[in-house]
């Protein structure tokens, strides 16, 4: 809820950016940052941290919101998103903002980078207690680079690599199954040598359970197909691919924030709780 609020505010202020993906990923990213990953916000290069790679860089508002909430930087800075001189670039740049592990935006390359780190931990550094988390889009799976990385991780059995595919079924030109069908998606990953789970990406318990299972699988990389609702939490955005690449205007942002604040009308004023 807090991440979604910040995403709406950031995007309204920025005047450009992607709405649907970040809102859909809010529950997953919140769970990873506040319930799964080991890191130190004040020591972003801490040598014992877990890694987080956002492969679909356009969804970075949700990561920025989570990082600010976690204390990597002051929340006020969120309002600088996409503005000249900001550390919060429209697509994430590692060299500008401590705490980012990679630079991404052009799709398909984050998974390989995550695989590179996972390879290093498993084969070169002998650090089996650290994990590499990677989030990819589903439209992003159209990219050949993804399947090169999938083959690579499968070959080397990178068991510390845990990938979430944000299965929201939309991409810029429409629904994924119309633009370029991905199904049988689970079967594809399985045939590349991965352990596959499918979960409701808005259920925190499911996410935590799936991560626990992925960590327990020690002879394969893990992919968790995370079913999400694009634009989740905002009625007029949910399920609508038109919201993939646009921000809310002032009126829409006001309406969206009101929906979030009232849990879609279930709360009539601050302080009153839903029964």
């Amino acid at each position: 809820m807090v991440l979604r609020r910040d995403i709406i505010r950031m995007l309204e202020e920025a005047g450009s950016g992607h709405s649907a993906g970040p809102l859909g990923l809010a529950d997953l990213v919140a769970t990873l940052y506040f319930g799964v990953m080991n890191y130190k916000p004040k020591k972003p290069e801490w040598a014992d941290r877990d890694y987080f790679f956002l492969s679909n860089g356009h969804c970075v508002p949700v990561q920025y919101a989570a990082m600010a909430e976690a204390g990597f930087f002051d929340k006020k800075e969120l309002m600088t998103l996409r503005k000249l001189g900001s550390r919060l670039q429209g697509h994430p740049e590692r060299t500008r903002l401590p705490g980012l592990e990679n630079t991404s935006g052009p799709l398909g390359s984050g998974l390989s980078q995550a695989a590179g780190v996972a390879y290093s931990l498993q084969y070169l550094d002998n650090q089996t207690h650290r994990f590499v988390y990677c989030v990819t889009g589903d439209g992003e799976l159209d990219e050949g680079n993804i399947w090169e990385a999938a083959m690579f991780a499968g070959k080397y059995k990178l068991s510390q690599l845990i990938v979430f595919v944000d299965r929201n079924n939309i991409q810029i030109d429409g629904n994924t199954e119309d633009v370029m069908p991905l199904e049988d998606l689970a079967g594809k990953w399985r045939s590349f040598g991965w352990h596959v789970q499918e979960i409701d990406g808005h259920n925190v318990e499911s996410i935590l359970d799936a991560v626990g299972m992925a960590k327990a699988i020690t002879n394969r990389p893990s992919v968790i197909i995370t079913h999400t609702i694009p634009g989740k939490g905002i009625d007029f955005m949910e399920y609508d691919y038109h919201w993939h690449g646009v921000p809310p205007n002032h009126e829409q942002a006001k309406q969206a924030l009101a929906e979030l604040r009232t849990l879609r009308g279930k709360i009539t004023h601050e302080g009153q709780k839903h029964e």
Partner: protein, 332 residues
């Protein structure tokens, strides 16, 4: 005339020949011996690009990624994030030819010390033909902020360059040739990233060469002497960052210049030199190399001669230029 320590055998039949890739192979093994963070990744061309020496010495630090050049450099970017110094190798036609965007985003913009080794670049790839004779790589890589671009002149220099990029902490591109080419430098010759070297001093024109073309310019300069033309030969192994001071100092003295490369003249060494010179001096620069066309199959040396990039043909072209274009004089 020069403190470059040229090989004594140059311009004789005894000049040694060895592919620059062989020097890379030796250099990579040595880099691996001195730094355990050096790792090597290859895309199914391990012996071709001479990575087998490293693989045999350090099997655990060698990673085979298969015929997947996009994955080659992006996995390397991840390895660099984990503190490694990854050397990635393929043919230049594929890396950086196929994966330029991945190199830009995940290596250069991301500022990771990944080394891109482009093997089998240029016309000396011979029989394989135009698809494999990468001629655009210098242009592609030198437009990329953060990227270092090095084209060693021979195998000895390639070995030194490999050791140098292992230590420079920067995204770096190293261009290598497949076929045997003349070895004009020696172990004593200097190599420093960002430096150009005067191999022969002269007063009538400066000949700027990179990679395998530097030796051809030495041959051309010798032939030009009999025509009464005293050419200065400057070797430019680092195309980016360009050694502006050495370039400008030489052309200010000679007042005319020719560049030569085994690559497209558009965007390559010729462009780099003319961009540098034209910002400071009104000096004419003739660019020689491959002139906006593709290569073709043939015996490597025959292809190079067909494109007029051997010493004899170069001498003719340079002579024609000298005869028709006046020297710039100070105060012009």
């Amino acid at each position: 005339m020069s403190n470059f320590h040229l090989a004594k055998t140059i311009l004789t039949d005894d000049v040694a020949h060895e592919p620059t890739r062989a020097g890379f192979g030796r250099g990579l093994k040595r880099a691996g011996e001195s730094d355990k963070n050096v790792v090597a990744l290859c895309a199914d061309l391990t012996e071709s690009v001479q990575m087998h020496l490293f693989r045999e010495a350090f099997p655990k630090r060698f990673i085979e990624v298969g015929v997947a050049e996009q994955n080659l450099v992006t996995v390397a970017s991840g390895l660099a994030r984990a503190g490694k110094i990854p050397f990635t190798a393929s043919y230049a036609a594929f890396s950086p030819g196929r994966n330029w965007e991945q190199i830009k985003t995940t290596v250069a913009l991301n500022d990771q010390p990944v080394k891109i080794i482009g093997g089998h670049a240029g016309l000396y790839t011979g029989p394989d033909g135009a698809t494999h004779q990468m001629l655009e790589d210098i242009a592609l890589m030198r437009t990329m902020p953060n990227m270092i671009v090095i084209v060693p002149g021979d195998s000895i220099e390639a070995e030194k360059a490999t050791l140098a990029i292992a230590k420079n902490g920067r995204p770096s591109y190293l261009r290598l040739a497949r076929d045997k080419t003349a070895v004009f430098s020696t172990e004593k010759s200097p190599f420093e990233i960002g430096k150009a070297y005067v191999l022969k001093s002269g007063k009538d024109i400066t000949l700027f060469g990179t990679g395998t073309m530097t030796y051809e310019l030495l041959v051309a300069a010798e032939l030009l002497l009999s025509d009464g033309i005293d050419a200065e030969v400057v070797h430019v192994p680092t195309i980016k960052p360009l050694d502006n001071a050495t370039v400008l100092k030489s052309v200010e003295k000679t007042g005319r210049a020719v560049t030569c490369e085994e690559a497209q003249i558009n965007g390559g060494l010729g462009s780099a030199i003319t961009e540098c010179v034209s910002e400071f001096l009104p000096i004419p620069v003739k660019r020689l190399g491959v002139e906006d066309r593709y290569g073709e199959s043939g015996d490597p040396r025959a292809v190079v001669e067909h494109f007029g990039l051997d010493g004899k043909n170069l001498a003719k072209k340079i002579k024609a230029f000298v005869r028709t274009v006046p020297q710039y004089k100070k105060g012009y």
